[in-house]
Each structure stands twice: as structure tokens, then as C-alpha cells.
């Protein structure tokens, strides 16, 4: 996959455009009267869906770099993570500002009452904390703690999945109703999280190296090991 490296700038641009496109489409639809007769609900659903897709993509970066050996993938992780936060922030604003008009006498009971918000709010706070510390200055300031802090994304992803499972119409646990979205998200994000379990990762990577001649394995192993440590 070496050729991708030289085209990395193109890919970065494609990521920016791809991540902004849903927002542009949303704004155009909103202004041109194409956002259903219940535009706030439609916008809330679209921004939520976009956020969880971007979250999945940002979680895919590290497994792609380890398993597919495309090291540059991790360089897209921060961008994707920041866009996840941006959509989640719009999603939250749509709820608090557009839907409830900042009427906290209505909003507070909702947050106290609804399980999907008990998990959605911490998920958002995690995204906010990670976005706020995603810059070089914060990285330097936090030092070793930065990495520990950013591991919270695993928790954030699980909470966001729970939010989705609780917010659909039906019963996701019993797979009745509109269960396909949380099911799909659960399978994809669950796989991406499981692929990080160190023992599984070592096992899978050694499997990949098996067919190669013994001499080549010895050469290939050290760099593979170091990726493990780095990511």
C-alpha cells in the first residue's frame, strides 16, 4: 500500500470533504424545505447517524494501520475524531437549542428521566474532553496522561452505541422494532474494539505472518512489534 503515502494529501482532503458533506447537505435540505415536516427530528437523527459513522471510522484507523499495514491511517484519526465531536455538538445543540429552545424547565427533567441521555451525555462529554485535548499543546502538557485520557474513546464508543440502542423505536435487546441500526453499529464498532485486545492482536498478526518463509518472518517481525507498542 506504499503508493497511498504519496497521495496522503489527497486522502486527507477527501476525508475533510467527506466529513463535511453531510453537514452541507443538511443545511441545504434545511433551507430548501427538504427536511421532512418535522425538520428538527430529522436533523437530530442525521447528525447522530453521521457522528456514529465518523466515530466508527476514527476507531478503524488504528486497526487498519496494524492489520493492513497502512501506517498513515492513524494520521487521519484526529481529524475524524474532531468531526465526530462537531456532529455530536450540533446534535446536542439541536436538542437543547432548536428543539427545546433552551427551556431548561423542560430539558432538565428529560436528562433526569431518560436512559438514552444518561449514556448520551457522558459520551458527549468524553468527545468534548478528547477534542479539547487533541492539540499539540495539550498533548505536551498532559504527557503520559494524554494516552490514558484518550483511551476513554473506547468507553465513549460503547456509551454512544448504548445511546443508539436505547433511542430506536422498539427493543434492541430483543431485536424487535427498528433494531438494525444499533445491531449494525454494535457489530462494526464491537469488532473494531475487540481487534485491539493485545492478545488477539498478537495472535492475528502472527497468523498473517505464517505463510511467509522463516527468514522473512524474522525481518518483518521487529517493525510489526513496534507498531503494536506505538498504537
Amino acid at each position: 500500500m506504499k503508493y497511498l503515502k504519496t497521495r496522503f494529501q489527497w486522502i486527507r482532503w477527501a476525508v475533510h470533504i467527506g466529513a463535511l458533506l453531510p453537514l452541507v447537505v443538511l443545511i441545504v435540505d434545511a433551507l430548501s424545505n427538504h427536511l421532512t415536516f418535522n425538520p428538527i427530528q430529522a436533523a437530530t437523527q442525521r447528525t447522530g447517524d453521521t457522528a456514529i459513522i465518523l466515530l466508527g471510522l476514527s476507531l478503524a484507523c488504528s486497526p487498519i494501520s496494524t492489520y493492513l499495514n497502512w501506517k498513515d491511517a492513524v494520521r487521519l484519526r484526529r481529524t475524524l475524531g474532531l468531526y465526530t465531536f462537531i456532529y455530536a455538538a450540533i446534535h446536542l445543540w439541536l436538542f437543547v437549542g432548536a428543539d427545546y429552545g433552551y427551556q431548561f424547565n423542560y430539558i432538565v427533567p428529560e436528562f433526569l428521566q431518560k436512559y438514552y441521555l444518561w449514556v448520551g451525555l457522558p459520551a458527549f462529554i468524553i468527545l468534548l474532553a478528547l477534542a479539547a485535548t487533541s492539540f499539540r499543546g495539550a498533548m505536551r502538557w498532559l504527557g503520559k496522561r494524554w494516552k490514558r485520557l484518550h483511551r476513554l474513546i473506547y468507553l465513549g464508543a460503547i456509551l454512544a452505541m448504548l445511546h443508539l440502542a436505547l433511542v430506536i423505536k422498539g427493543d434492541a435487546l430483543r431485536l424487535s422494532g427498528d433494531a438494525w441500526k444499533p445491531l449494525l453499529a454494535g457489530i462494526i464498532i464491537g469488532t473494531l474494539l475487540i481487534l485491539r485486545v493485545p492478545r488477539l492482536r498478537r495472535a492475528l498478526l502472527s497468523l498473517r505472518h505464517k505463510p511467509v518463509a522463516p527468514a522473512a518472518v524474522q525481518l518483518a517481525s521487529p517493525p510489526a512489534e513496534s507498531t503494536l507498542v506505538k498504537n
Partner: protein, 320 residues
């Protein structure tokens, strides 16, 4: 562009043709969605408004009508273009298109069960059987949105009287047609098709319970449940079962689709009640389709005078 834009300032349905008025309101709402402000608002005038589709004459004749609380009818385009009808699709805006060619003739409604005079009615016979009435009802969806809709039909109690329920009859069970050929959503195995709904005998005999055959002055459209449906305006919309082929009088409380699908969320009674929360949507407030702001939800959707006595002494939290 701010979110506290007040719809009443430009509520001008009386002087503006409805389709034009709808577009403008929709635009205002859309813009309110994004407080991105002047930049975005500046782009808006360049987007050409959609050509207004001509409305049926009966619809125009209803312009300016209000419900008894003083709220205007929800625009025709929303009533006929924003429908929860999972038999066709879960996309509310997709229903009208998919239901367009739905065959409502020939059609029969079999009324039976615990009755002395079971009878299978041909739909045209049934529609003409009782004098029809126009009723303007609020519709409150469990998802937290609402409409005001002019229906046409006759009280269910008239039909029930004709078939003579026996003393053993305690509930009425309704069933929607099962026809996956015409209703693609019925191929979705996550729901226990066909749609069934039910009412307690006194609820079924309440004068508000309307066996409905028309909307907005015309025959019911397929997306609104043609050829015949129930409307119970004090209950969440999912109780108002559509495209009915079977009505049975039964002794026990029937199992119905939504409580079967998610028993913790949807109860048999499903009375509109701002004090009984739902795990997802706010039941204390609602958005009237076309409004920018939420409004408080009324107990029994504002029909407490006519229905509250049926539930006297009942725990409405346990019997949600």
C-alpha cells in the same frame, strides 16, 4: 434567525394560499434549525421555491378552520405526506408514494366474535350505512409530535350496536389487512404482523371513537389508512389502527402490535398523558407540526371532559 421565532406572528393561513404558506413556514423552520445566521439566511432566497401543487377543492374549502381549542388545521401536505405507517415503510415521507396504488376495492370488513349478529360488510355498504360527521381532532403521536386533522366518519358505537355484542364481550380487537405484496413493510420480521389494536368496550363505545372513512373533506387516502380506520384522539396515534379488515368482540384484553414489540414502552391503554414518561420521547411536551416551539401536552390530549370518567380510580401509571 433565532430559535425563539414565534409562529403566531406570521400565522396567515387565511390570506395566503395554503401551498405557498406551507413553503414559507417550512423555510422559516428550516432556517431556525440552523442558527448559523446571516450567512446561511443570505443564501436562502436564491433557492427557488417548489412549484405549489394544486390542492383538491374540498381542502381549500376547509382553510381557516380550527379545533375547539383554537388551533388551526395542520396543512394538507403534512397530513397526507408525513405518516407513520410501518406496513409501507418506516420513512414517514415515503409512505404516500408507496401507498399510492394500494387497492382499497374490493374490500370487506368482517365484524364478529362475541356478537349476536356477525356480519361481513362490503366497504361501500359500510360507508353508506350511517350518516357521516366531520370531526376536527388533535392527533398526538407517541414520538412527541402532533397535528390537527379534519376527519370524516361515524362513531364506532353505531356499528357495534348493530351487531349486538353479547354480555361476554369486554374488548374490541381490530386487525389491519395482511398483504405483504402491497405492503412491503410487512415483510420485516421484527414486527408481529398483521397490525392488531384493541379498545376496552367502554372506550370503543365512547362517542369520540370514530370509524373513519374520510380526511380533509375527501375519501380517506391510502397513506391515511384507507378505506377505513379508527381514530381515538385521546390516545397516542398508534392506537388509531388503519386499513381495517376485521373487527372482533372478545372477552380478554387483546395482544396488540406495539406492546408486543416493546412491552416496557407501549401499553394497551396508551392514553395521552404528560405525567407518564416514555423512555425516549417527551410526553410532557410536544411539537405541533408546523410550529417552531414545543407546547405542553394536555392530559388525554385535551379530551379529558369526554373520557376521564372511564378511567376513574385506575392507576394510569401502571396502566399506561
Amino acid at each position: 434567525m433565532s430559535t425563539n421565532w414565534k409562529p403566531d406572528k406570521i400565522r396567515s393561513s387565511d390570506i395566503t394560499p395554503e401551498a405557498v404558506y406551507l413553503n414559507r413556514r417550512q423555510f422559516m423552520k428550516g432556517a431556525a434549525v440552523f442558527a448559523a445566521g446571516a450567512v446561511l439566511a443570505a443564501c436562502a432566497p436564491q433557492i427557488a421555491p417548489q412549484a405549489p401543487t394544486p390542492l383538491p377543492a374540498e381542502v381549500g374549502a376547509m382553510a381557516g378552520q380550527k379545533d375547539e381549542l383554537g388551533d388551526p388545521l395542520t396543512v394538507y401536505a403534512a397530513v397526507t405526506g408525513y405518516n407513520n405507517y410501518y406496513e409501507f415503510t418506516q420513512s414517514k415521507e415515503g409512505v404516500a408514494g408507496l401507498a399510492h396504488d394500494f387497492k382499497t376495492r374490493p374490500w370487506t370488513v368482517a365484524v364478529g366474535g362475541l356478537v349476536n349478529k356477525p356480519h361481513t360488510y362490503d366497504i361501500d355498504e359500510l360507508i353508506k350505512r350511517f350518516p357521516v360527521q366531520e370531526r376536527i381532532y388533535r392527533l398526538r403521536c407517541v414520538e412527541g409530535w402532533s397535528m390537527v386533522i379534519p376527519w370524516r366518519g361515524f362513531p364506532l358505537k353505531q356499528l357495534l350496536a348493530e351487531v349486538e355484542p353479547t354480555n361476554a364481550a369486554k374488548y374490541v380487537r381490530f386487525q389491519t389487512i395482511l398483504d405483504p405484496q402491497q405492503m412491503p413493510g410487512q415483510s420485516d420480521p421484527s414486527f408481529p404482523w398483521p397490525y392488531t389494536e384493541g379498545l376496552r368496550m367502554d372506550e370503543a363505545q365512547n362517542d369520540l371513537t370514530l370509524l373513519t372513512t374520510g380526511v380533509y373533506g375527501q375519501d380517506l387516502l391510502p397513506q391515511n389508512g384507507a378505506p377505513i380506520r379508527i381514530v381515538t384522539p385521546w390516545k397516542y396515534g398508534f392506537k388509531s389502527v388503519k386499513a381495517i379488515v376485521k373487527i372482533d368482540l372478545v372477552a380478554d384484553q387483546p395482544s396488540t402490535l406495539w406492546p408486543l414489540t416493546a412491552p416496557d414502552e407501549y401499553g394497551f391503554y396508551a392514553n395521552v398523558n404528560p405525567n407518564v414518561p416514555h423512555p425516549r420521547w417527551s410526553q410532557s411536551t410536544e411539537r405541533r407540526i408546523g410550529d417552531a416551539d414545543r407546547r405542553p401536552t394536555l392530559l388525554f390530549n385535551g379530551y379529558a371532559d369526554q373520557v376521564a370518567s372511564m378511567y376513574a380510580g385506575m392507576d394510569l401509571h401502571a396502566n399506561f
